[in-house]
Symmetry: C2
Subunit: 345 residues, 2 copies
């Protein structure tokens, strides 16, 4: 209601020292119950809230987590990224942390991290979209900035904290389902393969094929930003080829929608003439649920991952010096309307 009351004024009003008022408000034991109550009431009445900058300066903790997002990431991973952020944000606000997001030019990412560290802008950061050739973790270690990776950094799994889904296994299972349905010509529309997750998915796909004595056909494997047109154009091209695939394994719902469009445009029917399995990040604006979801999918909620990543990070910050901890989520394989037995020809 009222405004601008600070600790000094509040304590004067109460005829108490700032020390006592501060302690009363922050739950320290050396304050009598009476006093505490009196303080709380007056604070409430005067609408007192501690200035966060001052508190941060005094405590040395910024009570904020940073997310550095270079343009390239958010163009690629746009919706997935936000969903993750939203999840993380829920955890932060539950724990009184702020989330600060830096959108930076691609070649300023390192700068951004350095600034966060040197200016003490955040107590920790989340590393998004680790590449196969990843180096941010080294920088962050040097900067002494706690971090959690969304995904895994190849070769640094033991020494970093991360949260990831089991990409390889999910795609292995999906591929097996298609094989079980009789499909042998299976296309893979994957995310950019400089990203770690995409590489893992491909490995899952290939190893499932190989285990059954098949070999992945390079002509049927494409890798790109996961847009809708990427799905449509490539599916179209493959479907019109001499030896078209009967099934598609796709890395994102959006791309899968593109594939479905291509299937339609070719006069074919999804789930009958052509099967599609997609990974489903459970994005809220692209629901794929219901009794029989539209798309057969491997599903793993990226929002949930965000929540957990934040928890991991806050834990690290609260208990410094601990061992890195990680979380391995398993994707569900859910059968929907987009798969069926391979057409006999």
């Amino acid at each position: 209601m009222s405004k601008g009351v600070n600790l000094k004024e509040l304590s004067k009003k109460l005829n108490l020292s700032q020390t006592t008022v501060s302690r009363a408000l922050n739950g320290y034991p050396e304050v009598s119950a009476d006093t505490r109550k009196r303080v709380a009431e007056m604070a409430e009445a005067l609408g007192y809230a501690p200035n966060s900058q001052a508190r941060r300066l005094a405590t040395g903790r910024s009570m904020a987590i940073g997310h550095v997002i270079p343009r390239s990431i958010h163009e690629m991973m746009n919706p997935i990224f936000l969903e993750f952020i939203a999840g993380a944000g829920e955890t932060y606000s539950k724990h009184g942390y702020d989330m600060i997001i830096s959108v930076v030019e691609d070649d300023h990412e390192e700068d951004a991290y350095r600034q966060i560290a040197s200016r003490k802008k955040a107590d920790g950061v989340i590393v998004h979209g680790p590449a196969s050739d990843e180096h941010r973790h080294e920088l962050l270690k040097e900067l002494n900035l706690p971090f959690v990776v969304h995904g895994r950094i190849p070769g640094a799994e033991e020494e970093t904290s991360w949260i990831d889904m089991n990409n390889r296994r999910a795609f292995e299972r999906a591929t097996n389902l298609l094989l079980d349905l009789g499909h042998t010509r299976i296309a893979l529309l994957n995310g950019l393969e400089q990203m770690d997750f995409a590489k893992r998915r491909r490995r899952g796909f290939e190893s499932a094929l190989e285990a059954r004595g098949h070999v992945a056909d390079p002509d049927l494997m494409r890798s790109s930003d996961m847009t809708e047109p990427f799905g449509c154009e490539n599916a179209m091209e493959m479907l019109k080829s001499d030896n078209p695939p009967t099934a598609f394994l796709v890395s994102s719902m959006i791309t899968a929608i593109g594939v479905a469009r291509a299937v339609g445009q070719c006069g074919l029917q999804t789930g009958k003439d052509v099967s599609i399995i997609t990974h489903d990040d459970a994005l809220s604006f692209l629901p794929n649920s219901g009794e029989i979801p539209i798309f057969t999918c491997t599903r793993s909620s990226v929002r949930f991952a965000g929540q957990k990543a934040a928890e991991l990070l806050l834990n690290m910050i609260a208990n410094p010096g601990g061992k890195p901890t990680s979380l391995h989520l398993d994707a569900e394989l859910i059968v929907g309307q987009s798969t069926g037995p391979a057409p006999s020809r």
Copy 2:
């Protein structure tokens, strides 16, 4: 490189007072060029960067902009929201501002704003997704917190700063195009009509129809979260009805994709049997560009809107006491593959 140098240490190293060092670094005139250079070099060498909390406390400006996003918004507007954020973020970092995002439970939104104000967490905020029945601006005025609205608050256009596209006019023009093509049964798949933008779009649609002597058929108007299934299910239902529409006017690409799916499933062809015009927010992961875009659309880049909104707000903060200023963006009407003359029957 090195770490933890603060102003005191830096100035000691230089045999200068903190005052002088601070002034040299911040470009004040009362420092000789020599000294300034010496200071700059030493600061560089020692890797000095001012602690942002301390600076904030001293200057009284938090150098941050807040975005409060209740769950309901980010479930609805997910991808659009992020694109806007990304645009705003670019502007912020260009000006040395931080972006802080609070994800809050729906009924804690007011609290979030109060906290930002009382704890001085941000120097201003962006108001997202104004409803027809909007009150946040009143709260923010009471809190004396500068803000810019993305969209418009009905009845408060004059007294608030906002950035918006011309929703009514865009949908009017789109409707006219359809009418020109001979369509008379046109369906409207709109966003939630408690949102201001959706209401405006509907008005544009209706007034274009009326101007040509038609009346909007309530059976052909639906309003909901702009998901893909919303488009598919409703289009399906309408197309199977006795008196199906020959064209759809849709509020979002994602929903339009759903409509296209329904069209395909009905064995019809988009752009021939059924025309679709959608609004296109120019989301990066849903490109609808190229020589002949897939969808005929009204296009307005929401990322650009984000950039501009941020500029508006930073201006307000830099020049307090100014009159509210606003920006009215015009959407382009772009003809793509999804429209054609109404089928003669």
